[in-house]
């Protein structure tokens, strides 16, 4: 149904979106555990220790995965929220324009975060 997917759903498939959201949630949960674990077992938390930990190739890849997962997860979620609430029923005829602005804002923020994070992790 092209009509309902219009511009912006991530995959245009409800099932794929649904799966991506759940898989990315698992990635983020694992990543959180991993980082929390590191913080807990490390006695002397210095900048050098952090650089050392996040600078390993394994962690660089894992962090990249986590950042991309955050972006995908957030986009699906924010897109859904936008299509639920920003509707002509509540916002009148300007709803479409408003939603476009909102979605553009989301894309921009997510893009900035991803770029910034990648730059950070790969320049360590």
């Amino acid at each position: 149904m092209a009509l309902v997917t219009n511009v912006t759903s991530l995959t245009r498939s409800g099932l794929a979106d649904f799966l991506i959201q759940r898989i990315t949630a698992v990635v983020l949960a694992l990543y959180t555990l991993c980082v929390l674990g590191f913080l807990l077992v490390t006695d002397n938390l210095s900048h050098a220790a952090l650089v050392d930990y996040f600078g390993s190739m394994g962690m660089r890849l894992f962090s990249t995965m986590a950042v991309l997962s955050t972006a995908a997860h957030a986009w699906i979620g924010m897109w859904t929220v936008g299509t639920d609430y920003i509707r002509p029923h509540y916002f009148g005829t300007g709803a479409t324009v408003f939603r476009f602005v909102y979605q553009s804002g989301c894309v921009l923020i997510l893009f900035v975060y991803v770029a910034w994070a990648l730059q950070l992790f790969w320049s360590l």
Binding site: V4, G14, L15, A16, F18, L19, R87
Partner: protein, 234 residues
């Protein structure tokens, strides 16, 4: 008893309003909400609502009673009344035509979208198609739907996207045909459901389950559709 009723007649009212009415209930008898409506209509014939079978089978008199959707004819007053007051409103989320009557066009449109009829391309046999009692049991809890719209109009996802999310009632029927051993259009049906709205706007809130006057479980049916989509996709 005090009854507060949602009143709106587009011919005369600018805006809808809640109007207080009072009825004398007969002693020692727990009336159904529909009986109360009939008493109110006796006082004021202009009060409009749908009703027919008065036994919970036709699905005409779905309304919102003290905040909860249900069928007026099988809901005892004692079950819904709060602090001696009965508050009656039309089903939420659909345009009001008049008083407790809502425009159900959108609800029916979603129902029609799921192709709610058996599709089987094979020529039918001379007698009935065979179906084992176990296969038939798959339809229990699905075919009994009376299209009263209590579930869909209690569903926030349906409120937000009544034009795109099929809603619990329609999805229950979608699964009724997916689950029928005699139906041969499974793949076609599933492919029509795999967009981000039709099925996947269900967030498992389960209002539909809590209000269904027939005790059906649309959320479970939606879960089954999801897993069928998953199996088909992999």
């Amino acid at each position: 008893m005090q009854v507060s009723v949602y009143r709106y007649n587009p011919d005369v009212d600018e805006v809808p309003q809640m109007r207080d009415m009072s009825v004398d209930l007969p002693e020692g008898k727990d009336l159904m909400v529909l009986d109360v409506l009939e008493l109110l209509k006796g006082q004021d014939p202009t009060l409009s609502y749908r009703r027919s079978c008065r036994e919970g089978v036709c699905g005409s008199d779905g309304i919102n009673m003290n905040g909860k959707n249900g069928l007026a004819c099988i809901t005892p007053v004692s079950e819904v009344v709060k602090r001696g007051k009965l508050v009656l409103r039309p089903l939420p989320g659909l345009p009001v035509v008049r008083d407790l009557v809502v425009d159900m066009t959108q609800f029916y449109r979603q129902f029609e979208k799921v192709q709610p009829y058996l599709i089987n391309d094979q020529p039918p046999p001379a007698q009935e198609r065979l179906q084992s009692p176990e296969q038939r049991a798959e339809l229990d809890g699905l075919y009994e739907c009376i299209l009263c719209a209590c579930c869909s109009t209690a569903c926030p996802s349906f409120w937000w996207n009544p034009d795109k999310f099929i809603g619990p009632a329609g999805l229950l029927q979608a699964y009724r045909f997916l689950a029928d051993s005699r139906d041969s259009a499974t793949a076609e049906r599933l492919s029509k459901l795999d967009d981000p709205f039709s099925v996947f706007r269900c967030r498992g809130i389960m209002n539909c389950v809590s209000v269904c006057p027939k005790g059906l479980n649309p959320t479970r049916a939606i879960g089954k559709i999801r897993s069928m989509l998953l199996h088909q996709g992999t």
